[in-house]
Symmetry: C2
Subunit: 104 residues, 2 copies
DNA sequence: CTGATACTTTAATAATTGTTTAACAATGGA
DNA sequence: TCCATTGTTAAACAATTATTAAAGTATCAG
């Protein structure tokens, strides 16, 4: 179970265009992740700015970095986002969640 | 399909403790919604502050208000949140989304 | 060891955001 | 009509956040 403050932190982290782009890129990439420099190049973000944003994302638990030689690979942490979504939809419609589900 | 800017707006709206509380309360309540005053009382928020937050939430499309006599009932708009979640998980793991799904 | 690469940290500035107080509509009962 | 109720708006202030530039750390190839 996630706590409110944790969820706010995760939402704040994603509520910024650059960070949302970073996160989506990492989601698409999957568990293998992507080196910081590749992300910088792909999204046209300066290293300092990117580093700042990675710090925000990883402090929120949404991404994790692992060092590999000179590179740092960042990967999305899916558990945290799933927890966030679960928190948002908790007790939906007083327990009768017909109205909440996405129509497929 | 939701656009990036729309998603950022929705995430920003939820990325604040008071608004997250408001939203969760409305999610729990379902389509019927809840009068602004009831929300204010339940969450111990001043009317002016609450009004400010409702504006932010409805501008993001996350809630909708309907006037009923002297009251305004606010209700969660589930389609927008579902769209937001879909945007976040799009193309997860390059199309092989084993790692992204919540374990049930 | 030296120099280049990969990334982070710090400090300064600019912009955004949240809260409060006070004043302002609009609705409806007496 | 009068007045209390319900909620919104505007202005001011404090706090948070994003970006840039410059300096700093760590790894590796030669």
């Amino acid at each position: 179970m996630m706590k409110s403050a944790q969820v706010v932190k995760a939402l704040s982290a994603l509520a910024q265009p650059t960070r949302l782009g970073i996160y989506r890129l990492l989601v698409e990439r999957g568990p293998e992740g992507m080196a910081a420099g590749q992300v910088a190049e792909k999204l046209k973000v300066s290293p300092a700015t990117l580093s700042f944003h990675f710090k925000t994302l990883s402090h929120a638990g949404l991404v994790e970095g692992r060092q590999e030689g000179r590179f740092i690979y960042y990967a999305a942490n899916f558990a945290v986002m799933n927890g966030m979504v679960a928190y948002l939809t908790e007790n939906c419609c007083g327990g009768a969640p017909e109205a909440c589900k996405p129509k497929k």
